[in-house]
């Protein structure tokens, strides 16, 4: 398999996901299959090819340094599950 159980647990932790035992097995298998499939690309020789980050050959899309946004606080905060005054309210993160 292209991915280990430990790697799946590690990725889940980085994404702050709590997985059940069954899910860990399921995702290990599914992610493994995806990675195996992607590994087909390794059959190609790409030594002389620049890694492609973008599908379009475009550079330097820039904007001038001008403030164009007005006050959108209420709209922005209306998407929050919880708020307190003008702030987003989130569960406290405890360092562990």
């Amino acid at each position: 398999m292209a991915i280990t159980r430990e790697e799946v647990l590690h990725i889940a932790r980085l994404a702050r996901l709590a997985l059940t035992e069954d899910e860990v097995s399921l995702f290990t298998e599914q992610l493994g299959k995806i990675l195996d499939y992607m590994a087909k690309l390794n059959e190609l020789d790409v030594a002389d090819v620049e890694p492609t980050a973008h599908a379009i050959e475009m550079t330097n899309v820039l904007r001038e340094d001008v403030v164009t946004n007005g006050d959108q606080r209420e709209e922005i905060l209306s998407n929050a599950p919880d708020r307190s005054g003008d702030c987003f309210r989130v569960p406290r993160i405890l360092e562990d």
Binding site: H10, R13, L14, A15, R16, P51, A53, H54, I56, M58, T59, N60, V61, L62, R63, E64, D65, V66, V67, T68, N69, D71, Q72, R73, I76, L77, N79, D82, S84, G85, D86, C87, F88, R89, V90, P91, R92, I93, E95, D96
Partner: protein, 479 residues
């Protein structure tokens, strides 16, 4: 065994742009929470970030001023981690292709020059601010303000070339001065527009390999960086002397105790899974762009210090103090143009002016004081119109009111008495009234002359020319 410290500093400098790095929100400090937010900087689905041109201009400026090589092809990367102050779940930064590499900053420590290498400079966005709700210990929730999220930053990483807290402080101050001279950063550590983390290790003097390093955080003033480095170096040396080993960890500086304390967090290997941001196309910087920015570079702090030493024949110390702020250096030069006594004006600025500025914690540009004021005071003293002592009281009033020194001197009748006959009469009276002191002067206790001068000054309300008074008294006493 003798040990030496190996220190590298990582600086985050907030750029003085009007708008954020990838959207048109204001960067203004001190707005009410979340006033400066929009769908882009709060990471709403489907939005597209667009790079602020001035951020690139500023990064090129910083790169040129620190002697870096500018990378022609720049790619922005996503640094992935989950924390509530980061709305997108990743920070847009630069990873493999930063804008600048391989430069140096020259510092002066103990009269000696030294180059501190710059590993890299890259552009990135700042995170938001978290405030714990209620009492810290009991808080179950945090409040998030995204005004600071996506404010542009430069991360400037030094080589591990720094060998002492003093060198660290000198490097940090020089870097701050450079960025402030370039007018791209406020350089205010207390307000967080200029932040510093440190990597510190120690090794036996002369050793080639590095020891285990710790990372220091939470130092919000230049002085505290020096204190934290000092403490941490001694702590590590002591651990090694007692036969222990230094643990690689992050430590927080506590300004109250002057100590560094382990964060005691599970140090899970950082795994940021960087990858090129597909929302931002690559940035190509051509020669023309670099040259255009190069033309806007001002005289830099060290160049100014060198010029001041040559042009005004001032001691290195004076030049360093005067050039620590561009406004102060400009103020000095203006004043010298009006009254060409560089050392006299430098003395006046370093003593009287800086005392007021430090007391009120203000920049010279925020006061009523003008270069012409200081030039006039020094000129009035040099010409013998007022005494140095009167000069000080005139200065206090000028500083407070912004009135011209000449006017204050005239209105308050402070013109120095240099009338020899008048002063001699006063001096005679003083001597007559203090026969005991005259006796001891004649027995060889010549130091008592200071007392007589003081008495004459008192009689004349400080207006007597002290040099002349001295001469007259000596003449009278020896006759």
């Amino acid at each position: 065994m003798e040990y030496e410290a190996v220190i590298g500093l990582e600086v985050h400098a907030q750029l003085k742009t009007e708008s954020k790095i990838f959207c048109g929100c204001s960067t203004r400090f001190g707005e009410s929470p979340n006033r400066n937010t929009c769908p882009v900087c709060t990471g709403m689905p489907g939005v597209l970030p667009v790079l602020n041109r001035r951020v690139v201009d500023f990064a090129i400026k910083a790169a040129l001023a620190t002697n870096c090589t500018i990378q022609r092809r720049n790619v922005f990367a996503r640094k992935n981690y989950y924390y509530p102050d980061l709305p997108k779940g990743y920070q847009i930064s630069q990873y493999e292709l930063p804008i600048a590499t391989g430069g140096y900053v020259e510092i002066v420590v103990g009269g000696e020059r030294k180059r501190i290498g710059i590993t890299r400079i890259h552009m990135e966005e700042d995170a938001g601010k978290l405030v714990h709700e209620g009492e810290f210990e009991k808080a179950h929730h945090s409040l998030v303000d995204f005004n600071r999220a996506a404010v542009p930053l430069l991360e400037i990483v030094s080589e591990p070339d720094i060998r002492s807290p003093e060198e660290g402080g000198a490097y940090l101050r020089m870097l701050r001065d450079i960025l402030v001279y370039l007018d791209i950063c406020d350089g205010n550590m207390e307000e967080g527009s200029f932040r510093c983390d440190a990597n510190v290790s120690v090794r036996p003097k002369g050793a080639k390999e590095f020891g285990t390093k710790t990372e220091l955080k939470n130092m919000n003033s230049f002085r505290n960086v020096e204190r934290a480095l000092e403490y941490e170096i001694q702590r590590q040396i002591q651990v090694l002397r007692e036969g222990g080993t230094v643990v690689q960890e992050t430590r927080l500086f506590d300004a109250n105790t002057g100590r560094t304390v382990s964060m005691r967090t599970k140090e899970e290997a950082h795994d940021y899974r960087y990858f090129p941001d597909p929302d931002l196309v690559p940035l190509e910087i051509d020669d023309e762009w670099v040259e255009r920015v190069r033309k806007t570079l001002p005289e830099l702090p060290l160049e100014k210090i060198d010029r001041f030493q040559k042009e005004y024949s001032l001691p290195l110390y004076d030049c360093q103090i005067l050039c620590s702020s561009k406004n102060l250096a400009d103020f000095f030069e203006e004043a010298v143009k009006l009254h060409p006594n560089p050392k006299g004006i430098s003395n006046w600025i370093m003593a009287e002016v800086l005392r007021e500025l430090n007391r009120e914690k203000v920049d010279i540009s925020e006061t009523k004081l003008k270069p012409a004021h200081v030039a006039s005071i020094v000129k009035l003293i040099d010409e013998g119109t007022i005494s140095g002592k009167i000069g000080k009281s005139v200065f206090e009033e000028v500083y407070r009111t912004g009135e011209s020194p000449e006017k204050i001197v005239e209105e308050r009748g402070l013109v120095q008495v240099s009338d020899e006959a008048a002063l001699e009469e006063i001096a005679r009276k003083v001597l007559e009234n203090h026969p005991k002191e005259v006796e001891s002067y004649k027995k060889g206790k010549t130091g008592v002359i200071g007392f007589f001068v003081g008495q004459v000054m008192k009689e004349t309300k400080g207006k007597a020319n002290p040099k002349l008074v001295n001469e007259i008294l000596r003449r009278l006493l020896s006759s």
